[in-house]
């Protein structure tokens, strides 16, 4: 256990992309897990419906057939008053006319004066504003993280498992099996998978989160499989595999026990990469309406914002909030991936030591040049 902790600490030490990336992703995971505790409102909860009795409403009400004369007169008298509350309005009429308002009329009043809560800009009550349906954008983001993350990680997992199976098997089996698997990898790699995903989703009709995760997972393993294959091939040539073969261990045991642990870094990197791709693809699919619009995810939030013409009517928060959230999450994954690259390939990092080297090198060279100039002057 302590060795595990140590290796984690070693991974993050001096690796700022990994630290930033992991922090972002960790935060989102926590938000998603504790959504009900953190979100200020429910995911689909709307602001209470508002009623506003304008002069227009009064005229409409006055035009109703079978209206008593007293009420009609009172309505006319209330013009310009501008009630904000339905009940206050009803009470005023009742006290002024001294009669009870018949139920059908009450319903009419409610109907004519009803106003959708509509877009509300960011405020103290709604930090990120509301959607056109009066839902809290922040709460939707937090609840949406649940499905979006699940789909992303789920697709990442499916894609990685397929990639590992294909890649390691191809490398270890070699021969005809390898040829066939490589052909499959290359075909899947060369066929652009977003159009393929679109076609699949179109045939499925409205695809729920599960279908989306599966579709993305099964179409985006090829690159990972190829990378894993070539890495496994180079490991296969090393002595300890030859030794295991000589001892007579079974092929599958060698694959699982000897080879997979040696490409675990790569597998983790593939998982992060595939998840990143899945999050991007999911957002795209749902944005163009191939997902289930009744499920709150970051992608469907984009879809609703687009359908509500949020940007055109000036409600930028409804569109930009999910857009930027997806980007931050994606950026976190990308940074984590970069950090992993640095660990398995320290050469790529440069960073601290390289900077120190440059500094020292320049210092030494400056000193030498100065000395050379000095010597020349003396001579």
């Amino acid at each position: 256990m302590s060795r595990f902790l140590e290796s984690i600490i070693r991974f993050f030490k001096g690796n700022s992309p990994a630290v930033i990336g992991a922090t972002i992703i960790g935060t989102f995971v926590l938000l998603a897990v504790f959504a009900p505790l953190i979100a200020p409102y429910g995911a689909l909860e709307r602001d209470p419906i508002k009623y506003k009795i304008t002069d227009e409403t009064l005229e409409k009400l006055a035009g109703i057939e079978g209206m008593s004369a007293e009420i009609e007169a009172t309505l006319a008298a209330l013009k310009g008053h501008g009630f904000e509350d339905k009940h206050e309005f009803l009470r005023t009429i009742e006290t002024q006319t001294g009669t009870e308002i018949p139920l059908p009329l009450q319903k009419r009043i409610a109907g004519y004066s009803r106003h959708d809560p509509g877009h509300e800009p960011p405020s103290r009550r709604h930090w990120l504003g509301t959607t056109r349906a009066g839902q809290d954008v922040l709460s939707q983001l937090i609840y949406g993280a649940r499905i979006s993350l699940l789909v992303g990680f789920g697709a990442g997992l499916i894609g990685t498992v397929i990639a590992v199976l294909m890649g390691v098997t191809a490398a270890y089996m070699g021969g005809k099996v390898d040829e066939l698997l490589v052909f499959m990898m290359n075909v899947v790699l060369v066929i652009p998978n977003l159009p393929l995903i679109l076609v699949l989703a179109a045939f499925l009709g409205e695809a729920g989160p599960h279908s989306i995760a599966i579709i993305i997972g099964v179409t985006s393993w090829a690159w990972g499989a190829r990378v894993l294959r070539s890495q496994t091939l180079s490991i296969r040539k090393r002595e300890f595999i030859t030794a295991a073969e000589a001892i007579g261990e079974s092929k599958w045991r060698i694959i699982v026990v000897e080879m997979v642990p040696n490409v675990i870094n790569l597998i983790a990197g593939q998982f992060v990469g595939t998840t990143l791709y899945a999050v991007l693809a999911e957002a795209g699919l749902e944005f163009i309406g191939l997902g289930d619009p009744s499920v709150v995810t970051w992608g469907t939030m984009l879809l609703w914002a687009q359908n509500n013409s949020a940007l055109i009517v000036g409600a930028w928060w409804e569109m930009l909030a999910p857009a930027i959230t997806i980007s931050i999450f994606g950026g976190g994954l990308a940074l984590l991936n970069m950090g992993m690259d640095y660990v398995s390939n320290p050469q790529l990092k440069g960073g601290g030591n390289m900077g120190l080297w440059k500094k020292r090198y320049n210092e030494i060279q400056q000193k030498r040049l100065a000395k050379a100039r000095n010597d020349k002057e003396l001579a």
């Binding site: 390289m354 080297w357 020292r360 040049l369």
Partner: protein
């Protein structure tokens, strides 16, 4: 011991140190090396892998790569310190005056550029001549190393290992340099090809008259072709003498061990013994002589003090407490 830069000296390395910068502390790969190369000679530099001989060789032209640094020392070439040169002066001296033959010809030729272009670019970078003249010159050079100029437009992968090494030597000769540094030029080749290449080199040396600094771990090869041999251990030079002296009468226990672990091509048959123990760990070097833990003749002083490189007889230097300074005291 210091002769200064007399006419007979082409290169003088003074007190050269090379550090590898690491996370924790710098590791000293080359430690206060003093070495003089005489004009026209073939000086061999030998030692186990990791003893700093290649690092030293690359430092001469400042071809060291990060994280290597040269914190101290001077490399005086024809009276001028290479370490103090500005970029442009350095660029001009490289290859024009000193060229390098790299260890593996496979890896030191650009795989996607034709041999012709790789020869011409160095000529054109230093000489103000037309492309056609450069091509003619390149053809001439190839011929001299025994490769048909018809193959100029070929790419490195189309040549065999031995031929590639010849190409590399042709490129090294392109500007008629005064000195060539050779870093294990034949380790990647089989013995027959190695002999061919070395014979060719001898021949070329007679024609061109350059100085060679030959780095290798192959003492038997050095014994045959070099005039003098320097032995390195743990980044320090431990012995420097003529070839015969080193091969037939080694003074330093480490040299002795090295000689005994090599079958010499010429000379009597003997039992090979080798050296027990492991090469010095430069991360955590011992306080005294680096060779002390492996040395059969180790004394108390060896564990405390590092023996300086001293001249025990004219032209012969050893760094070992077995050979006290003539005056009887340390430096």
């Amino acid at each position: 011991m210091n002769q200064g830069s007399s006419t007979g000296t082409i290169l003088e390395i003074r007190n050269l140190c090379v550090d590898y910068l690491t996370e924790k502390k710098p590791v000293r790969a080359v430690d206060r090396v003093n070495l003089t190369v005489k004009r026209g000679e073939t000086l061999g530099l030998a030692g186990e892998s990791g003893c700093g001989k290649s690092t030293l060789a690359f430092s001469i032209l400042r071809l060291h790569k990060p994280p290597a640094l040269i914190p101290e020392g001077e490399v005086i070439f024809n009276g001028e310190d290479i370490l103090c040169m500005d970029e442009e002066r350095l660029r001009r001296i490289r290859w024009n005056d000193i060229s390098v033959v790299f260890q593996s010809a496979m890896n030191c030729l650009n795989p996607v550029v034709s041999i012709r272009d790789q020869m011409c670019d160095v000529i054109l970078a230093h000489r103000n001549i037309s492309k056609a003249d450069a091509v003619a010159q390149a053809a001439n050079l190839l011929e001299r190393v025994g490769i048909s100029p018809d193959r100029m437009n070929d790419y490195p992968h189309q040549f065999s290992g031995g031929m590639r090494q010849r190409v590399v030597i042709a490129i090294a000769l392109a500007l008629d340099p005064q000195m060539i540094i050779m870093d294990e030029p034949t380790t990647a080749l089989d013995v027959v090809v190695e002999r061919e290449i070395m014979a060719k080199l001898e021949e070329l040396k007679h024609q061109f008259g350059f100085t060679i600094l030959l780095i290798t771990h192959d003492l038997s090869l050095l014994g045959e072709i070099s005039d003098r041999i320097a032995i390195m251990y743990g980044g320090r030079i431990v012995e420097l003498a003529t070839s015969e002296q080193v091969i037939l009468d080694p003074k330093h226990p480490y040299t002795n061990g090295l000689i005994n672990s090599f079958p010499l091509l010429s000379g009597e048959k003997k039992v090979l013994s080798g050296i027990s123990g492991f090469p010095v760990n430069l991360w955590d070097p011992p306080p005294g002589c680096y060779f002390a833990p492996r040395c059969e003749a180790c004394m108390d002083i060896c564990k405390r003090e590092n023996p300086p490189l001293i001249e025990i007889e004219p032209g012969r230097q050893v760094a070992c407490h077995l050979f006290p300074t003539p005056e009887g005291g340390a430096e």
